[in-house]
Symmetry: C2
DNA sequence: TCATTACCAAACATATTGTTCTGTTTTAGT
DNA sequence: ACTAAAACAGAACAATATGTTTGGTAATGA
């Protein structure tokens, strides 16, 4: 890809991100983004059709990357371990968040972070589905699989949101334990979930 | 209160609600609301300082009413019953939603209903807190009370969202069972919770 | 009845939006 | 290094949205 494209694209993302840190999404105008990114008016609209698409692309890139990284992990290593959460893929996700690559924490800690947590949840569903559904962990449940996937995804996102609202006082390990404590009991075969090695 | 005030106020709410049924909140302009409500420009701004306040007031009224109604129910009757969900306050809430007073379903089924589910969750927390926390049901839990309240509230809202996304095929009883199946196991004293009569 | 209050219409300056134009700079390929 | 293609900037544009002011009308409640 053209260097210029990447450069302005990242300039827009950076400007957008920094603006989101100080004001609501609704209250940010395209003009402000243009000014903050220091680009031409035409250039912005050449990259993003609308402000909503900008948001979508930003979130897709950020969360997509995190989730894909987690999904690419060796399945034997990061599994749904019983009791102790030391090997959970969720712990990995929290640590990844804590490292704050791509300034993702600025977004998740912004005024109306529900916007981003929603995208987070969307991407997370893919992970949950492949992580558990394919292993047949949902098979014994009385609950519909889709309901469970949604519930687990939402619960994790809520855990992250709760963590952020308290300025991440707790350690990733603690949050993982809290989260697992809420979903482990509802997975019939959840308490065992052996790794296949 | 002046009849005229109430009249225009409801006209604005009605216009806003019907607009939300067809397009996103962000894409609705104040001008459209004014036109749809058939009121003067000055009148709108006399009632609501901004579009966000309009949304807030609308949600506050709707969800506040529903939650307050549920909280005003006789505590002995609607309690956290074990297993069967026939007396659960949550079942009452779902039935209330199904009746579709105040066109609340139009809002919850609109394009970006996350907006409303968020308000719903906010009001729901009050209910959860008084319903369980005051009975000491959280006392034995390893989880922080605030975490639990948030988790339960979010889980119920997610259950409602899931229900709506499937066009409410299931009965309120089924949804209540699904929901209770996810949160009952994590409440230490949850399985008993006797009514105090 | 009468003072109050809500309403409306019009106009206003200002800001935002999305597009179109022209011209410049940078890039990638040869 | 040369060139064609591209991405960029800047300005201008109409259309629309915002929030406020003014002056006048009509409904309300006491």
């Amino acid at each position: 890809m053209d260097r210029r494209q990447k450069k302005t694209r990242e300039a827009i993302f950076a400007a957008f991100t920094s603006l989101l840190a100080e004001k609501n999404y609704n209250q940010i105008s395209v003009q402000e983004i243009i000014d903050a990114a220091n680009i031409g008016r035409t250039t912005f609209y050449a990259h993003f059709e609308t402000k909503d698409y900008l948001l979508r692309d930003l979130c897709e890139g950020l969360f997509g990357h995190i989730i894909d990284t987690a999904m690419g992990l060796p399945h034997g290593h990061y599994h749904y371990s019983c009791g102790s959460a030391t090997d959970s893929v969720f712990l990995h996700l929290l640590r990844h968040l804590q490292e704050n690559d791509n300034h993702i924490l600025e977004l998740l800690s912004s005024k109306n972070n529900d916007l981003f947590l929603r995208y987070f949840k969307g991407n997370l569903k893919k992970l949950i589905r492949t992580q558990y559904a394919k292993k047949g962990q949902f098979r014994n449940s009385k609950l519909p699989e889709d309901y469970l996937v949604n519930h687990i995804s939402a619960s994790f996102v809520e855990a992250v949101g709760w963590w952020l609202s308290r300025n991440m006082q707790e350690s990733p390990e603690e949050i993982t334990e809290y989260f697992l404590a809420t979903i482990e009991p509802i997975l019939p075969s959840g308490l065992i979930s052996p790794s296949e090695d």
